[in-house]
């Protein structure tokens, strides 16, 4: 990759935390009061990647994998134990005050809006904080109100907004100053389908029109499939995968899923080569068939010859299935 086009460069990033150990019970609590014990935990272990201008990156991984820590380092909130990060030429934690003028940040479970005030007051405040020229502020706000459909929410106190409404306002707030890079930490968490859709459309458009580089962490594979051509999978503080979603589907999506409804409850053992069976309930089984080792047609035949069957459906495992599998078993294909 040409380093000229890289807007973000992360090299050998490591972060260790001191975690306080607290044991249960009063006596133990008193003990820890006098001698606090710390344990060093590796949250991020030697992660490197580059991101080009205008990319839309999905960062995924189970809870506690190190995604949020990585984002917090990239946004200048945390300082790594070792390693380098350059975003637009800035070192995020050393040059924090200058650097953060150029980025937008949304944390799904937090808000930067003032609780007792309507969003418009918070927007006005941000205009001063980022020194946004009046005409640009107006133009952006108009655009956002239209696309995010927040014009009707402008003068309702934030505490009275629904989670989805608030998140739309928070997104608008994070983009008022036209940041070149946008960091989103689980922006769709807890939102309903409609709200998610609105946010996804808005992000897609922002990425396309303004060439804003977007880094998104999420647990929602729908976000990933709709938005991110490239994903970085992080687990136990390490980078497991960095590449396109299409690639991972091709590489790991060699399994087909067979869902079989049996007429009677059965207690069989299916130890066929290339087939992994899991019980859904006594009468319903899920078979993961590795198409390199076993043919779908053969497996179906064998099942039909042995048991009475109501229904069989064949499904391609979706990305969620693939990812779950990667979390569980690592990258061994």
């Amino acid at each position: 990759m040409d380093s000229m086009t890289n807007i973000i460069e992360v090299n050998n990033l490591c972060k260790q935390f001191k975690v306080q150990r607290r044991e249960a019970g009063l006596a133990k609590a008193l003990k820890t009061f006098f001698s606090q014990k710390y344990e060093v935990v590796d949250a991020v272990k030697d992660i490197s990647f580059n991101i080009e201008k205008g990319e839309f990156i999905g960062m995924i991984g189970p809870n506690g994998a190190g995604k949020s820590t990585t984002i917090k380092i990239m946004t200048g909130i945390l300082v790594p134990s070792s390693g380098n990060v350059k975003v637009m030429g800035y070192c995020p934690w050393d040059e924090r005050l200058d650097y953060v003028k150029n980025i937008g940040v949304v944390f799904g479970q937090r808000t930067q809006l003032w609780w007792d005030l309507p969003p418009v007051d918070s927007f006005e405040l941000l205009k001063h904080i980022y020194d946004i020229p009046e005409h640009r502020f107006k133009k952006n706000l108009e655009k956002f109100s239209e696309v995010l459909e927040i014009n009707k929410l402008m003068d309702i106190p934030v505490r009275k907004l629904s989670l989805g409404e608030r998140m739309r306002c928070d997104l608008a707030a994070s983009l008022l100053h036209d940041p070149k890079v946008l960091f989103l930490d689980e922006p769709t968490i807890g939102l309903d389908v409609v709200a998610k859709e609105k946010i996804r459309n808005f992000l897609k458009e922002t990425n396309k029109e303004k060439k804003t580089t977007i880094i998104l962490t999420t647990h929602d594979m729908g976000d990933i499939e709709e938005l991110c051509p490239r994903i970085i999978i992080i687990d136990k503080g390490q980078k497991l995968y960095d590449g396109s979603v299409a690639e991972i589907k091709k590489k790991f999506g060699k399994e087909r899923m067979l869902i079989v409804d049996f007429v009677e409850s059965i207690h069989p053992r299916f130890d066929w080569k290339g087939v992994r069976a899991t019980e859904i309930d006594a009468k319903k089984f899920k078979f993961l068939v590795d198409t390199r080792m076993a043919k779908i047609s053969d497996v179906t035949k064998r099942i039909l010859s042995k048991y009475q069957v109501h229904d069989i459906t064949v499904e391609e495992p979706d990305i969620e299935e693939i990812i779950r599998d990667i979390y569980r078993r690592g990258l061994r294909a």
Partner: protein, 265 residues
């Protein structure tokens, strides 16, 4: 600078959301003034003296009542706000803004002070002039006393900010630290009893602590108890404490930031 003042402004707007709070504030202020008025009148008549510690009854009532007005302005919740930021993790949002956290909090405090001044202290002051016929100095002295209140407010903010940063080590200690601060202020600032009434030892302790710059200095200027060179000296002491506490605040904030980074937020 403008961006910080924007925070002062939004805090005032935010406080305005609680519309009727200020009516209650003014009423409770007036009640408090009446209590002090009767208390000091009783003390003077029991002792049957014209002056106590160099104060006449009318001076004492002015001291007590104006002290209540200042107390209405100086009502900062900075240590609680910082604790909230730490507890809720909102500190993370603050760190993604192009802001210095100390200045940000100073701006919030300024907003609190301004709101309290406009909506509670100023009306209470006018009402107490009408009810108690307190002594009002000449405009210049009034302005100097006001400047002194402002400097005292800065001292109070810095003390509160320093206490607030303790939240990074242990949340839950803030309530205790705030009580300790309030007690120290009540006892050692001259807000409740003029320092002139103190036994020598206590007076000496009060003199070397920053709390007396919050009430004793502005009230003494207001009453004309200190003027000329002594007033300049008092201002210098206020500024000395502001500089010293600002250095300490910067250091404790840096330490808090280091701790935050080590524990990972």
């Amino acid at each position: 600078m403008m961006k910080y003042l924007a925070y002062s402004k939004i805090l005032i707007i935010s406080e305005m959301a609680y519309k009727f709070e200020f009516v209650m504030n003014i009423l409770s202020t007036i009640v408090q003034m009446f209590v002090l008025f009767f208390l000091w009148s009783a003390i003077f008549s029991w002792n049957n003296t014209a002056t106590i510690g160099g104060f006449t009854l009318s001076e004492m009532i002015t001291y007590a009542v104006v002290g209540v007005v200042i107390a209405r302005i100086l009502n900062t919740f900075i240590e609680w706000y910082i604790e909230e930021d730490v507890k809720t993790g909102n500190i993370v949002m603050m760190l993604t803004k192009p802001l210095n956290y100390v200045w940000y909090n100073a701006a919030i405090s300024l907003g609190e002070y301004s709101d309290a001044f406009i909506r509670t202290a100023l009306p209470s002051f006018i009402i107490c002039i009408l009810i108690f016929h307190i002594f009002v100095p000449d405009p210049l002295t009034l302005i100097l006393a006001f400047i002194s209140v402002f400097l005292g407010a800065a001292v109070l903010f810095l003390i509160s900010f320093i206490l607030g940063t303790f939240a990074f080590w242990t949340t839950g200690s803030i309530w205790f630290l705030r009580s300790l601060k309030q007690t120290s202020i009540t006892l050692l600032s001259g807000s409740f009893i003029p320092l002139a009434f103190f036994p020598e030892l206590l007076r000496n302790i009060a003199d070397v602590l920053p709390f007396q710059t919050i009430y004793h200095v502005p009230l003494s200027i207001y009453l004309g108890k200190i003027s000329g060179f002594a007033m300049l000296q008092a201002f210098a002491i206020q500024i000395f404490w502001i500089v010293l506490l600002a250095v300490i605040a910067t250091l404790t904030w840096k330490a808090a930031r280091r701790r935050f980074v080590a524990l990972g937020g």
